[in-house]
Amino acid sequence: MKAKLLAYTPLKPLREASGGLDWRSLLPHLGYTFAVEKISRACSHQLVRHRAASFSQQSQRYITVKRLSERIVTPPSVAAAGADEFNKLVGEVSEAYQRLVEQGVPKEDARFILPNAVETSLLMTMDGRSLLHFFGLRCCNRAQWEIRALADRMLEEARAAEPEVFNSAGPYCYQLGYCPEGRFTCGRMQEAVDGYKP
């Protein structure tokens, strides 16, 4: 997995043009574009639920998935369990996919048998407000491990680029000073807050 901030709207010219508005007021006008690479399709399905964002994702209609077994994200829990069944099934799917493509089945149809574990890469663009919300939800201890790891890497990139805005970003407990998850709280708020201090 890789996350790289490719482009962003710098805060300084906006602050000057606005006569010195606080960065919080400028959030809707700030834009951030990330290259998100080699995540699973299971993870990208979660990403695109953030609707106030733009996505351009590798298309399985146009790009043939070659050597599927080398382009798979294996969850740590599956690896810890030995992954034999997982790897066996991936191998079988890989062979079946290749056979279908060789038989002339369009890639857009052959892809129907591909698993959620298959790797994908995409461009993602969010405004500042949406990105803070994304970090609030996806850096949380309750987020699924892969999208949480992705959010953490994106946060590192964002903090390096614009620390004034993103040093206060992280899971909502860190942003708000309390946990908004109610009865679903992880119960480890202080640990999370300490972990996100710059």
Binding site: K2, L21, A35, S56, Q57, Q58, T125
Partner: protein, 138 residues
């Protein structure tokens, strides 16, 4: 009405090209970005094929304008262009932002002074896309 582009994400057209090739080429987007930023001719060639691509490839950028206009003029723009964001700075002064797709779609739907100025304002930041917006889809 005055409209001034005060900031934008860098390499606007290179990012359009990165987006177009990410969906179809199999190369990693960060690799495409590094290659294309160093090759303006390739960017022009890829962005020149924009008419056969989907509009979302024009969304990976952010453009910010200072708008000097009356409340009525701004209200009209707000109602017409849902994907432009506005912040009031003072009497007849606004900060406005959006992406190239919002510009292209607004210009395609409205033939107003505001639409004309909006399109002209992106000429330097995105010359190929500017030409595409002015001529419309083939």
């Amino acid at each position: 009405m005055r409209l001034t582009l005060v900031a934008h994400t860098p390499h606007v057209e290179a990012m359009v090209a990165v987006s177009m090739l990410t969906t179809t080429s199999g190369a990693q987007p960060s690799t495409l970005h590094d290659r294309l930023v160093a090759n303006p001719e390739k960017v022009k060639e890829v962005a020149g094929r924009l008419e056969v691509q989907h509009g979302n490839v024009m969304e990976h950028n952010r453009l910010v304008w200072l708008v000097e206009a009356t409340d009525d003029e701004v209200m009209e723009a707000m109602l017409d262009a849902r994907y432009l964001a506005f912040t009031r700075l003072g009497d007849d002064r606004w900060l406005m932002s959006g992406n190239l797709r919002a510009v292209a779609e607004y210009a395609g739907q409205r033939d107003t002074e505001f639409a004309g100025k909006l399109v002209e304002s992106v000429k330097d930041a995105a010359p190929t896309v500017h030409s595409y917006i002015r001529r419309g889809p083939r």
